[in-house]
């Protein structure tokens, strides 16, 4: 397994946000984490990327215990996160944002290769190369955040709500790109409220409720699971 969380608990002050979560992501997979608002999806992401320290439990990445590893070193190991919402650098241009994504890397030729790759995945970003990040639309910013996360050439890409606030057509497009990124060899852990899209694209998925994993299975299984259907997929 590329990523393994064992009994991870996490506290915000005295409030326990995660109650012993265990999950695993294998190399080459797309794994989705679905759940309602406040279920602990983003918190799980922050624990993996190192933005929040965990109280108990362990996180292993690529066979190494990274539970106590600093966030910046996790990037070097190959974990890259596209943060929730507007996590881009508003005063930097698209190009500068992407360069920031390659912060830990030195090989200019490889960085340029990845820039081309990101621009191929998101032609819109190429058009807007010199535009300042903060002036772009929500969808463009989301693309930029995903593109930027790819710039560290990660082994594991953490996507936190990539479809948030996007128009239905754009959602479709962003999920297509996620699948494409995965097919190019990057493992993806995806946090989503859009359960329909997430489950239909993911190999496997976990359902999170108030800081606990209540269900797991393949994307297809969960998509047809009656309780998941009721809670997250709506009747429509």
């Amino acid at each position: 397994m590329l990523l393994e969380l064992k009994d991870v608990t996490l506290l915000y002050g005295r409030i326990q946000a995660l109650h012993g979560i265990s999950l695993a992501v294998g190399e080459g997979e797309i794994v989705a984490l679905i759940g309602a608002n406040g279920a602990g999806k983003s918190t799980t992401m922050r624990a993996i990327s190192g933005l929040r320290p965990v109280a108990q439990g362990t996180i292993h990445f690529n066979g190494e215990d990274i539970t106590k590893l600093r966030a910046d070193l996790r990037v070097v190991r190959g974990v890259s996160q596209s943060p929730e919402g507007r996590g881009i650098f508003p005063g930097m241009s698209v190009r500068e944002n992407l360069e920031m994504g390659a912060y830990t890397r030195r090989n200019r030729a490889e960085i340029n290769e990845d820039l081309d790759r990101v621009f191929t995945l998101f032609p819109r970003l190429k058009e807007r190369e010199k535009q300042v990040g903060g002036t772009m639309s929500g969808g463009e910013q989301q693309m930029l955040a995903v593109g930027r996360a790819l710039m560290s050439r990660p082994k594991l890409l953490l996507l936190d709500e990539p479809s948030m606030g996007l128009a239905p057509m754009l959602i479709q497009q962003i999920f297509d790109i996620v699948v494409e990124i995965n097919q190019q060899g990057t493992t993806v852990l995806l946090v989503e409220q859009n359960a329909q899209q997430a489950l239909s694209r993911a190999h496997r998925a976990y359902v999170l409720e108030t800081g606990e994993i209540v269900k797991s299975g393949t994307g297809a299984e969960l998509l047809t699971d009656p309780s998941v259907k009721d809670a997250y997929l709506g009747v429509a």
Binding site: S49, G87, G91, A102, Y103, G134
Partner: protein, 387 residues
């Protein structure tokens, strides 16, 4: 100076030379015009500008405009020297506040540490009785100031925004109160006879005497120019990129692999170093200082200068720093038309009005950083969504 555009196929810096050139030339107004000039022209313009700054003590000789500029209630070269250390402080605080985005309300603390270290080592009033020369005490003063920056920064830089501001405020007050109430630091009595910088004219008179402040101003200006080059290079380096990322979004910076605590400490240490530089210069010129020199107002004033001039922009910090010193000094010796008293007494009222006017009409500062202006807008959107 920014690195010149080269045709090298694989630039080493994250931002290629060509892009920097573009960024430089894309700017509008005077700065855009300056950026479009060829490198030799830019160097000549820079030298001319520096030369004009060195000639400022004689600006009074210029017909018509000159007499309007020079101060009346205070000797003009002294006013210029005052401006020079305020500019230094503004440059240093700009690194902390403008580049790294850390709100520091206790910047005068580092100024005090630099000045007190020199006083302790060099003044005959000191318990140490070392009575070093000014120049010998300077490196120690700067080192101690820098270390104090690290010591303050290490435990406190985990805090953000307002919390950090309050802790730094506390730091400056602690320095002042300790200086007031410990016997070694001599409180209000202060230290006198702090030696001036060394050097003699050929006729044996000291260059840095009591009567003439011009040499001090020139020394200050020379130090400022060195600091500008240092700070510019830092800002254009990987360190500058890291500061920028931290300032814009600390969490995003962290998940890009920026070791945020390290670069924040760097900003604090460099800011403290430059603040200490202001302190040792101050001690060397004044010859006397006591704990009343380092009041809180001082920190606030320098911060106001940075924000007024244009936080995050070196030219803005220089202008702001110069203004906060110049405006009150210029008001000295002018009679107010109603009560017939010295306008200097109204300096804070006038000053406040100027600051309010600038914040209303130009909230991004007089010479804004394009990026900071953008970030400001972005934050406004977060506070009050317009869509």
């Amino acid at each position: 100076m920014t690195t010149e555009a080269t045709s090298s196929p694989t630039p080493k810096t994250p931002l290629s030379a060509q892009e920097k050139k573009n960024a430089r030339e894309d700017r509008g107004g005077v700065r855009g015009w300056y950026g479009r000039q060829s490198k030799p022209v830019r160097i000549v313009l820079g030298v001319v500008f520096a030369a004009l700054a060195f000639l400022l003590p004689y600006v009074g000789e210029v017909p018509l405009i000159g007499p309007q500029i020079v101060t009346q209630g205070i000797d003009w070269p002294s006013a210029l020297f005052n401006m020079s250390y305020y500019v230094l402080l503004a440059l240093g605080l700009n690194v902390v506040v403008g580049f790294a985005g850390l709100l520091d309300l206790g910047y005068v603390g580092f100024f005090a540490v630099g000045a007190y270290t020199v006083a302790l080592l060099a003044s005959p009033d000191s318990v140490l009785r070392t009575e070093w020369g000014w120049l010998a005490a300077v490196p120690i003063g700067l080192t101690v100031a820098m270390i104090s920056g690290l010591v303050l920064g290490y435990p406190t830089l985990r805090l953000r925004g307002d919390y950090l501001a309050i802790v730094t405020l506390g730091f400056a007050e602690i320095i002042r109160i300790v200086a007031t109430s410990t016997e070694t630091l001599r409180g209000d009595r202060g230290f006198s006879d702090i030696p001036h910088p060394p050097g003699e004219f050929s006729d044996g008179k000291p260059i840095f005497g009591v009567a003439d402040a011009v040499p001090y101003y020139w020394l200050g200006l020379a130090v400022i120019i060195l600091v500008i080059f240092g700070v510019r290079n830092l800002d254009n380096s990987r360190v500058g990129r890291s500061w920028l990322a931290i300032r814009e979004d600390q969490e995003a910076a962290e998940i890009m692999g920026v070791r945020t605590i390290k670069y924040k400490l760097w900003a604090f240490a460099i800011g403290a170093f430059i603040g200490g530089l202001g302190g040792v210069m101050f001690a060397g010129q004044q010859g006397f200082m006591n704990s009343q020199t380092f009041i809180l107002q001082f920190s606030i004033l320098v911060l106001a200068g940075v924000v007024m001039g244009g936080s995050g922009n070196i030219a803005g910090a220089i202008l702001g720093g110069a203004l906060i010193s110049y405006i009150p000094d210029r008001l000295r010796g002018i009679e107010d038309p109603i009560w017939g008293t010295d306008l200097f007494g109204f300096r804070f009222a006038i000053f406040g009005a100027v600051i309010i006017a600038i914040m209303i009409f130009r909230p991004q500062g007089l010479i804004p950083s394009r990026r900071r202006a953008m970030e400001l807008k972005d934050r406004e959107k977060e506070v009050a969504p317009i869509e």
